[in-house]
């Protein structure tokens, strides 16, 4: 993790190094390997915990070019295979090295429609950066080419220049596609089928579009203006958005075909019911799902107490249960909302945390406390039904389990109590049952996830599905990958019918 902060050069040193490298005719792999990993500037932790504004500030032009020159441009390009949407990574990075932002943006856009978002929220160290030849050569995945930061840089530079190229749209086909849910999967499908000339309507249950990118991921990690711009871009392409519409309730799924004349439907309704631990005390006052906590703060803007009508629970000592991105978001949000002490309670250790490495590092910097190898067995409360603390067990790490991670083993007799007034449960989601309940034809597995084939087709002809409602809790980029696959299949289907 330290690699993020090593080898910090001053601005002048960066400039001198870049000039020197650009002056060379041909860079040898040795030259490239010698360039230090470019750290991305961030807001000072002490300042940023008092604001919602974005933590990471993005590369400067010099930093981006230096980082781009680190890429070995290896023939095997394992990074491309590591990317769920297979961006031609070495090609766009080569363009950055020569400050050709338009060129880089065009290459990314071939396969990824939301680079400003993916650059910020993808778990790159587990995807494109994990197999990076440079990282392997330097024996540290943290020293891989910082592909995510470069992707973000390209998207941000392009946006700042105000030249957002809209993709070409084929002539109208007269076919209509309904997209249910406006999260990453839905937006991807919307763009891809619209490009083929089909009429597209996106139905969203919330009052705003973006799904988890607006209700879940906080402003300090993904500014909402970026999500809104992506939606505006789709609107400019002719995609129509119908908000406050819950397909399966406001309108039955089959009515989209029978009454509204749609030819195809994509279901990207996202994850559903938040999981709880099934331990005593979970319905005490002061216990929240991370979904609820974050939705209040993000979508409902409850952090803006002067203007927002949605109330926030006043917390002093907060325990966040879980070790994923959502847990990090909730913990860091609690800190920003004024909690004095925020603990992440996780039954394994930092190495096993599923959260994005950068988010964990940022949480540490912000003073979030991590109670590793610890797990609650009961939420304690008082007579008023308010949370007063957690009863916890300590754990040690045993043998690796099916996930390859060492499994936590409780230590007998390690029971102890800690004082908290708020408990935020961030343990993932069960699938949302609403669509399946009102659409018996739709086949779901025993967990309630919609069953799809290799082309994302469901049991109903003309209906595709993708994202969390198929995968369970996954990531933005995996949802987009499913969206791409579904869109390709929808386009083929509509061409044939």
């Amino acid at each position: 993790m330290n690699s993020y902060y090593e080898n910090k050069l001053t601005t002048n040193e960066e400039k001198a190094l870049l000039d020197e490298l650009l002056a060379k005719e041909n860079l040898t792999p040795k030259d490239r390997m010698a360039i230090p990993v470019q750290e991305m500037p961030v807001q000072d932790p002490d300042a940023r915990i008092h604001t919602m504004s974005e933590v990471a500030l993005g590369y400067t032009k010099t930093q981006a070019q230096l980082e781009a020159l680190r890429c070995l441009q290896c023939k095997t390009a394992p990074c491309i295979k590591g990317c769920p949407v297979n961006i031609n990574i070495p090609a766009f990075i080569a363009k950055i090295a020569h400050d050709d932002i338009q060129g880089a943006a065009a290459i990314i856009r071939e396969t990824n429609l939301l680079p400003a978002i993916c650059g910020r929220v993808c778990p790159q160290e587990k995807q494109c950066q994990e197999p990076c030849t440079l990282g392997k050569s330097l024996k540290d995945v943290g020293k891989a080419v910082q592909i995510g930061r470069l992707e973000r840089y390209v998207a941000d530079r392009e946006r700042a220049q105000g030249i957002i190229a809209l993709p070409d749209i084929a002539p109208p086909t007269g076919k209509k596609v309904a997209i249910v849910g406006s999260g990453p999967a839905g937006l991807t499908v919307a763009a891809d089928v619209r490009r083929n000339g089909h009429e597209v309507v996106v139905f969203e249950a919330f009052q705003k579009g973006g799904g988890v990118m607006v209700y879940g991921i906080p402003e300090f990690r993904l500014p909402k203006a970026i999500v809104q711009e992506e939606i505006s871009k789709l609107e400019k392409m002719g995609v129509r958005f119908e908000y406050n519409t819950l397909i399966g309730k406001t309108r039955p799924l089959m009515a989209l075909f029978d009454e509204d004349g749609f030819d195809a439907v994509f279901l990207g309704v996202g994850a559903g019911l938040p999981k709880f631990m099934n331990i005593p005390g979970e319905n005490l006052v002061g216990v929240f799902s991370a979904n609820e906590y974050l939705t209040r703060a993000n979508l409902m803007r409850a952090w803006d107490t002067g203007r927002a009508a949605t109330p926030l629970f006043p917390s002093k000592r907060v325990a966040v249960l879980g070790g994923g991105n959502v847990a990090m978001d909730a913990a860091r949000m609690a800190k920003r909302l004024g909690a004095e002490e925020v603990h992440v309670v996780y039954r394994r250790t930092r190495d096993e945390m599923p959260a994005r490495a950068e988010e964990v590092a940022h949480a540490f910097e912000e003073g979030i406390l991590f109670d590793f190898l610890s797990n609650p067995i009961e939420i304690l409360g008082n007579e008023a039904g308010m949370v007063t603390g957690l009863r916890l067990l300590r754990y040690s790490l045993g043998e690796p389990d099916a996930s390859g991670r060492r499994s936590p083993v409780p230590i007998p007799g390690s029971e102890h109590d800690e004082i908290f007034d708020t408990v935020i449960v961030a343990l993932g989601n069960e699938s949302n049952p609403l669509l399946a309940r009102t659409t018996p034809e739709l086949a779901v597995d025993k967990h309630g996830h919609i069953i799809v084939d290799e082309e994302q087709r469901t049991s109903i002809e003309g209906v595709w599905a993708g994202g969390d409602i198929v995968l369970g809790a996954a990531t933005v980029i995996l949802a987009m990958g499913e969206g791409r696959r579904a869109a390709a299949s929808i386009n083929r289907f509509l061409a044939e019918h």
């Binding site: 908000y243 406001t250 309108r251 019911l273 709880f276 002061g286 929240f288 949302n432 609403l434």
Partner: protein
């Protein structure tokens, strides 16, 4: 955007609005609710039950009481204004069948959501007794509508200003003592009322449904803010409810959870009344100066 077609003030704190919402009007069934948000940027999402709907006209009727900032803000809207977001119909419809003798208990504005259920139960061929109760005469609503569907209508007020001076549980107990006892009781009203209705019918083993109105954000199962303990298990009011077996609901837990933001709500309520008073005083002052 959902336009307000009509607005009526039923009592000092109770309003009835008719809102343009064609899809909801078409799909809604007895027992379902909507989530309403006056302003999509900073407004709160609040669940409100559907009191009536006209599929032909494409409208739904909402009846609400001003209790916090959001309901006060909603009450400020007039005919012709629009509510920025109305989502629904949410929750499961009431299970309607010919049970035999159904007793509906509506407390305060609980009479509003009870009305479509009463209509549906009557249509299904049930004998229908309705108990309407309120703190005082002013707050007793839906009397005429209920009289039109019920075979028997019992009116009670806490202060005796209208109907019999009693709590709804008193006539409910009397009905349970009849032989045969009611086949089903549906109680909708303040949680404390529903809790005591459940306690009243329990000894008689009369199946009793309560419609819960909890804290909610999305209303689609995503946030879990609405969770309640029913028969020892956690249930989500928005996807599993809103109606539950009243004998199985952990009422004390529900009442406590409802109070999560109570202090904040009370502050806002007081603030609104204070502002309204100041405004009235200012108007009177201005009128005095103008020589009116």
């Amino acid at each position: 955007m959902n336009k307000i077609i009509a607005k009526e003030r039923l009592s000092e704190e109770v309003y009835k609005i008719v809102v343009h919402a064609p899809w909801i009007a078409k799909e809604r069934k007895a027992g379902q609710f909507v989530i309403v948000q006056r302003d999509i940027d900073y407004g709160e999402r609040i669940p409100l039950t559907i009191a009536d709907a006209d599929a032909q006209a494409g409208t739904i009727t909402l009846i609400f009481q001003t209790v916090g900032e959001s309901t006060h803000r909603l009450a400020e809207l007039e005919k012709g204004d629009s509510i920025q977001a109305v989502l629904g119909p949410l929750g499961n419809p009431t299970h309607i069948e010919q049970f035999g003798w159904v007793v509906g208990v509506g407390g305060g504005i609980g009479a509003a959501p009870l009305y479509p259920i009463a209509q549906a139960m009557k249509q299904a061929g049930n004998r229908l007794t309705i108990i309407l109760g309120a703190r005082t005469k002013e707050l007793l609503i839906m009397e005429e509508e209920m009289r039109a569907v019920a075979d028997e209508l019992i009116l009670v007020t806490d202060d005796g200003s209208y109907g019999t001076k009693a709590l709804v549980t008193e006539p409910l107990k009397t009905l349970c003592e009849r032989s045969p006892a009611p086949d089903l009781v549906v109680a909708i009203g303040p949680p404390i009322m529903m809790k005591f209705c459940a306690a009243t019918t329990k000894p008689f083993n009369v199946p009793t449904l309560a419609s819960l109105n909890t804290i909610m954000i999305d209303g689609t199962g995503m946030c879990g803010g609405c969770r309640v303990t029913v028969g020892g298990n956690t249930k989500f009011v928005c996807v599993d409810g809103p109606e539950f077996d009243a004998h199985q609901v952990d009422w004390d837990n529900m009442l406590k959870r409802l109070s999560t933001y109570k202090n904040l709500e009370a502050q806002h309520h007081a603030l609104y009344h204070e502002e309204a008073c100041k405004l009235n005083a200012a108007i009177q002052e201005a009128e005095k100066h103008a020589g009116l």
